[in-house]
Symmetry: C2
Subunit: 257 residues, 2 copies
DNA sequence: ATTGTATATTGGTTGAACCATTGAATGACT
DNA sequence: AGTCATTCAATGGTTCAACCAATATACAAT
């Protein structure tokens, strides 16, 4: 809740609103993409689309820099990011080789795979929803067993004050709290990934009043179950809502195609 | 099986063996850490250990470069990697800010959290083993339902020829194949993470002949279940072996402390 | 055929300079 | 006192030109 980026997102210059300072304008961050980020996107896309295959050697840095119209130092910064994503392997004195992105462990790559060629890949989305169903009920049960005042209190606040905040934000907070309560670090990291995705694209789900109401009900029930330490009930409640969400989400995606 | 790094690992100069060309010498890769990687490790460690807290601003690049005794371009390459890991946020004209690493989604960070201050953090290891138990049985069931000849054949080969390869390698291959068979991309990525960890540190587990035999048995049984499309059985077999592995692993870690 | 050597290629690092953005200090104006 | 625009110093972003270090390759020597 207090990372620099989130703090920064709450501040914007009034000048950009062109006098429309009171109404809620849907502002998107200015595209001030840094050069090396633009390069990362380009190469990342070519790798994930299969245009560049695993095992191939990229052109030499000096060549690539000329081709892209940037300085070699800038290109190198991009290559370092690609290396951190596990998409390329750099060999001193030899060259930069493309790796098999399906052998990656970097969820940024998975995210890029979702949004390839304009649309979203519903197959990958479904794999996320399925994994969530397998994982989170168990984690909810663990949270109910370990329950600490800190987390129960946090859930209570979300349920009580949550009516004043968007359903999406309340939902992200509930999952975040349960993950923290479970003290399972892998799940915490995976949930960070989920929540970042949902923060960008989950609004469509909560636009449906029926889904929002289902979500509010889930918040009340899971809080109750965890507060009482009823692990089996927490597990079932979590499972039910995730199965519901998967069905609704996949149906919506099917319709939009 | 064909990433550049793995191909490279099978090739080495005989000169490094200093005339001992026939005996099996335990050679470790020369530590030819590039400067920017050394820098990444240093700063990563300081962030994860809490020495640098979330929200703090790092010294200016020009200062930091002098302090580390490297050129600013080199430092910047390191910062780009840290940024890709979600550990810092760079703001043009302002500075480099440390982010809360518990809000990261990068499993490299989780790996670094495991190996902090010399030893391994058994709490995090256990969270991996728990998540694995929640996740993989369901994925084994999916694999049994979707079963394709390609994957069944691969499992058969591993079971038949696996006796000639180390149990660790056979085990990694089995899990890899099942993940691919499930076609669940998130699980594939998470399993890439697991397998990379186990390839480094799983040998201790398979040093125990009892564990190795248990693993071979698992390979035979899961192959049989998936080949017959028996999803419930595949699920149970996977679950049983993972629970066994968790108990043995955690017991071993407790003893070594 | 094997081994050693020279060379070109490629990534790694350096130093200096300049551009672009930001935050804070300043001062004018209300 | 508070608000606003201006100025300016600090900081990240990019460029340029070199040189260092590791590697692959071709070639010569054996």
């Amino acid at each position: 809740m207090s990372t620099p980026s989130e703090m920064a997102n709450k501040v914007f210059s009034k000048k950009n609103q062109m006098g429309n300072s009171t109404s809620k304008v849907a502002l998107r961050p200015v595209n001030r993409s840094r050069l090396h980020e633009e390069i990362v996107s380009q190469i990342q896309r070519k790798i994930i689309s299969g245009e560049i295959k695993a095992g191939e050697k990229l052109p030499a840095e000096r060549e690539l820099a000329v081709e892209l119209g940037v300085n070699r130092a800038t290109l190198r910064e991009a290559v370092k990011k690609l290396e951190a994503q596990g998409l390329v392997e750099v060999r001193h004195g030899d060259g930069v080789y493309v790796k098999d992105f399906l052998e990656s462990e970097n969820l940024d790559v998975l995210k890029a795979m979702i949004y390839h060629e304009g649309g979203v890949d519903s197959t990958i989305i479904d794999s996320l929803l399925i994994a969530r169903i397998a994982l989170l009920p168990e984690i909810a049960a663990v949270a109910a067993v370990k329950r600490k005042d800190e987390h129960v209190q946090k859930l209570k606040e979300i349920v009580e004050l949550g009516k004043n905040m968007p359903a999406l934000e309340a939902d992200l907070a509930v999952h975040h709290t349960i993950a923290r309560a479970s003290e399972n670090y892998l799940v915490i990291f995976i949930l960070n990934f989920f929540n970042k995705l949902f923060r960008e694209y989950g609004k469509y789900y909560f636009d449906d009043p029926q889904n929002e109401e289902r979500s509010r009900k889930f918040h009340r029930e899971i809080f109750s179950a965890i507060a009482r330490g009823d692990a089996p009930r927490a597990k079932r409640i979590m499972r039910d809502v995730l199965i519901y969400a998967r069905e609704r989400t996949m149906n919506a995606m099917r319709k939009s195609l």
